[in-house]
Symmetry: C2
DNA sequence: GTCTATAACGAGATAGAC
DNA sequence: GTCTATCTCGTTATAGAC
């Protein structure tokens, strides 16, 4: 009773994810986003799924391989989300707002961006994971650069310096804001920082809430 | 031949650091900043110091205690550095530049800010460490808020929104920029992001290098 | 594909000699 | 204050039955 392969989604020597592999990745992702790569074990995943550690090794022979596929899948999902934004959002500012919403959704589950998380542990990661990590950030920078370009040309966004430079600062802001907000257990810290950043970028004066509440 | 206690530097149930304790903390700090709290062990420290694990436990009974003292010391050192900046820098912009230099010095050793690092692993840390972590960030926010206030009143800095809000964004920018720069192994990414942020904050037009090089 | 069983190792921690 | 020796547990990973 083999489970049919649904999609050949993961390139670069990746597995064809079966339902079991997907379930493993889902749990591993949650653990990695909350506890970090060095903060969870096969045992943790096995308990949550109600299976044995050995069966996990059938799907992912090594933790290094699990980690690599994890990042690859995250990057692909993120890329799909960015594509959806491109299709749905009317202008650059709205795109950025939805981009922020992506991060907010992560934080609201008390998670951190997977790649921001793993970036901290970088020095302890196997090489393939480090490479996958950089790819994720580069993807994000590229997308942000395009959006900033679009917004500037449309007169919707305003900023100094080159778009790539501004894009990198933007990415750093969001990752850093998540990191700090999470250590206070206050997602609001992220939202307010993100709102400020977007307002600062926008040419239209925002209806900033002031500090009355 | 007991080593004389030099200073009672660490409050809150902390140890009086002997030379040995200091050496342990120095090594632990480097490891924690490069590999994270879950990325190093007593064995790692022992090897680097040429002693046994058991002797480490004499100074720091548990890793949790070592971790707590580590953050406390880091916070105190950082606080002293901020005080030195207050005394030496002429204006708010120069203070911020020196603040950035503090981060740069860390990065140049391929380290991450200790607390940015531990913030990622937050969920796996014992409670005393989490509290110490928040204290560090709050200290930083307070100092940045004061500097932003000073600079705005002097007409040297310009920004929207409240100073505390701007201070939080600033902190997030620096922590995030370190995080991402380190995952590329390119400290330049941090420097360029930090320069942009400071230039954006300054009322004086900076001599921004353009992109000719 | 999932299981039991176990190997091989490293972790944090303690007892007690020196 | 540092050592040797040891304990206990958790870790990744494998062999082989079902």
């Amino acid at each position: 009773m083999a489970i049919a392969r649904k999609k050949a989604a993961l390139p670069a020597g990746g597995l064809t994810p079966t339902a079991a592999a997907t379930a493993i990745l889902d749990v591993a992702e949650e653990l990695a986003q909350t506890r970090g790569y060095n903060g969870f074990s096969y045992a943790d995943i096995a308990v949550k799924l109600g299976v044995t550690k050995a069966s996990l090794h059938y799907h992912f022979p090594s933790k290094a391989e699990l980690g690599r596929v994890l990042i690859e899948r995250y990057r692909i999902h993120f890329g799909a989300a960015l594509l959806a934004i491109d299709e749905q959002a009317r202008d650059a500012l709205e795109k950025l707002k939805r981009y922020v919403a992506l991060y907010s959704a992560v934080l609201s589950n008390e998670r951190m961006c997977l790649c921001g998380m793993l970036a901290a542990e970088q020095a302890t990661l196997p090489l393939p994971m480090r490479e996958a990590l950089r790819l994720f950030f580069t993807d994000n920078e590229r997308w942000l650069t395009a959006v900033l370009d679009e917004g500037r040309q449309a007169g919707i966004l305003r900023f100094k310096a080159s778009t790539i430079e501004r894009a990198r600062v933007l990415l750093a802001q969001f990752e850093g804001a998540m990191l700090v907000a999470r250590s206070y257990g206050e997602p609001l810290r992220f939202h307010s920082a993100a709102s400020y950043v977007l307002a600062d970028l926008s040419t239209r004066e925002q209806s900033r809430p002031g500090r009355r509440s």
